[in-house]
Symmetry: C2
Subunit: 364 residues, 2 copies
């Protein structure tokens, strides 16, 4: 079934941009001509994606001066040193400030290519062409770019909004099951943090999503992007509300850091992290045990882990969580649930409830 073309706008004044959602958009000369009028185009992609979509993209870009760098697949490429060969290619080819960067890939490619665009000659334009569900609903929207540091995720980066996000649903047909599920973790996140109606929809339609029903996936991408666009428009640089998007992420980033990036997928770590946030929220008496179980059940239904690895000591948890960018003045701020569909950022919680949540994770 051919899903209708959908469009979501991210309203940020002069930095506003469209999110185009549909099928066959990577091959669409019209869509690309609108999004990418630049003469010089650097496509940043990875070795797994390039053979699948790069030829069609190059063809659709027509007679522009198109170059590309295909990095090895994986989170370990999201580091400062990976920028140098990309910048090198751009300089060798005489790319100036009017050039365009296209990120063709998942979150790693999007964050890295976005950071290259943010910093090449102090800033050029870029377009996100996400090839995973996770990137479509989350990382490609909102202008957060950056790389990891050995001591923490996304510790070096910039806010730099793309000129457009083009979500071609066709690419989801080749997405491995595990990555589809990892994307659904971020989808569930939007429902839990601020969209109770969407939570009901997901509970009823998770099977269709897992079966890659295009209508269901189109709706999911649109709904998540609407949610994210509203939050980003209200708080572009994460001075407040935007931090809600990190539901499950403080715990999840600690899992990723403790295991070395790449062992758990980001979405898997966030899934377990959301279960910990729900458990802690219930422990605080903010949500009921039934609501906690409902959140965990939906995560389980998506085929995602509901428990963190049990070999991380409470000291290691705290060490990694202390690096979270939400923390201010040494206080650990967490995104917790006041109810299903309403998250809050808080450092005003009973310390025991965090201790117990971490201790429980260690008990498996």
């Amino acid at each position: 079934m051919q899903a209708p073309m959908r469009k979501v706008n991210v309203s940020l004044g002069a930095r506003s941009y469209p999110i185009e959602i549909g099928r066959g958009l990577i091959d669409s000369t019209n869509v690309l001509a609108h999004a990418a009028p630049a003469r010089q185009v650097m496509v940043v992609t990875n070795a797994a994606i390039a053979p699948l979509y790069l030829p069609a993209l190059r063809q659709a870009l027509g007679d522009r001066h198109v170059i590309h760098v295909a990095l090895p697949d994986g989170e370990q490429e999201k580091r400062l040193e990976s920028m140098l060969p990309i910048v090198d290619e751009m300089l060798v080819n005489g790319f100036d400030r009017d050039c365009l960067v296209i990120a063709l890939g998942g979150g790693v490619i999007g964050d890295l290519a976005g950071f290259v665009a943010a910093t090449y000659q102090r800033g050029v334009g870029y377009v996100q062409l996400p090839t995973t569900l996770l990137a479509m609903v989350d990382s490609s929207v909102g202008g957060k770019t950056g790389v990891n540091h050995p001591r923490g995720k996304n510790m070096i980066g910039a806010f730099h909004q793309p000129l457009a996000v083009i979500a071609d649903l066709n690419v989801l047909s080749t997405l491995p099951d595990r990555e589809l599920r990892a994307g659904l973790a971020e989808v569930i996140k939007y429902a839990l943090l601020g969209d109770a109606e969407f939570l009901l929809w997901l509970e009823a339609n998770m099977d269709a999503a897992l079966e890659r029903d295009t209508t269901a996936l189109a709706y999911i991408v649109e709904r998540c992007c609407q949610n994210k666009a509203a939050i980003v428009a209200a708080d572009e640089r994460e001075t407040g509300e935007r931090a809600l998007l990190n539901l499950g992420h403080t715990f999840g980033h600690a899992i990723e850091a403790a295991r070395g990036y790449g062992d758990w997928l980001h979405g898997e770590a966030i899934a377990a992290g959301m279960c910990m946030a729900a458990t802690m929220s219930a422990r605080l008496g903010w949500i009921s045990a039934a609501d906690r179980d409902r959140a965990i059940a939906l995560i389980a239904k998506a085929g995602l882990p509901t428990k963190a690895p049990n070999d991380i000591s409470p000291e290691r948890w705290r060490e990694f969580m202390a690096r979270d960018k939400k923390n201010r003045d040494g206080k650990m701020r967490l995104v917790l649930l006041k109810r299903l569909g309403q998250a809050v950022v808080s450092s005003d919680y009973d310390a025991d409830s965090l201790d117990q949540t971490l201790a429980q994770a260690c008990d498996g």
Copy 2:
């Protein structure tokens, strides 16, 4: 003689900031308390500067959590890899988004520390404490941050305005003569590109500046900062007028790149570059031979080179000049003089005049 405290404001709306000019400001608890209220402070400095000023700065910062990284001296440190140990120290010490970076040093330290501030956890505040005349009058003001790439200067960077610039004239007493003269190159630049009255003043007072008369230096720093502040306020991200500040820089950067950074000081390369720009402007008939000679005479009076090295072939000149960030759509844009005290950015010049200017440089 104790120079009066002077202050210049850079007007950029919410990103406005003061430039404080005076003596003993590094030791001044009051000035620092105003500029640096943060609890966590990373001082980025170099091994030559640290023993001279870091103890006094640390004392003036009182009971804040102050850490520092002292890099080896030199332009070769202005590279992406130099960021990692700084970010590492900040992460080890639990620095959050409310921390502050202080750049204590010359242009290399200011540009690098500013880029760390621009990108640490996607952006934190920073204060410039320039320790060279060049940094006081130029690089510390205006928010251009970044690092070099092996293929070109400042090719990776960001626009990120400081919270304050503190120009302590006392530090100029320990500045080596060669660096004082290099700073005067940028001083002369302001006069040539847009301040004919200042040009007259410099012709009359260059000796006082070279003798480090504090009153003369205070006036120079103030006047240059006023010039730069006006240009930056009108064109923060260099979409137009700000490019005038690159008078002499397209030629100068090519000299630096051809010789390997560090052989010629930046100011020395810019001095020779301005002589080439003046020569080419005269060749075009835009300024008279007398005005060309007047510009070159002032640069010579400051003890600066008036000729580029003669071992760079025209092909190499063009190769390096083609990387200039001012270029658009493949056209080489140059800052040239319409008259002394009025520069223009132009790609609308007779190509022969550039050929001849480069050929003349090769003839020595």
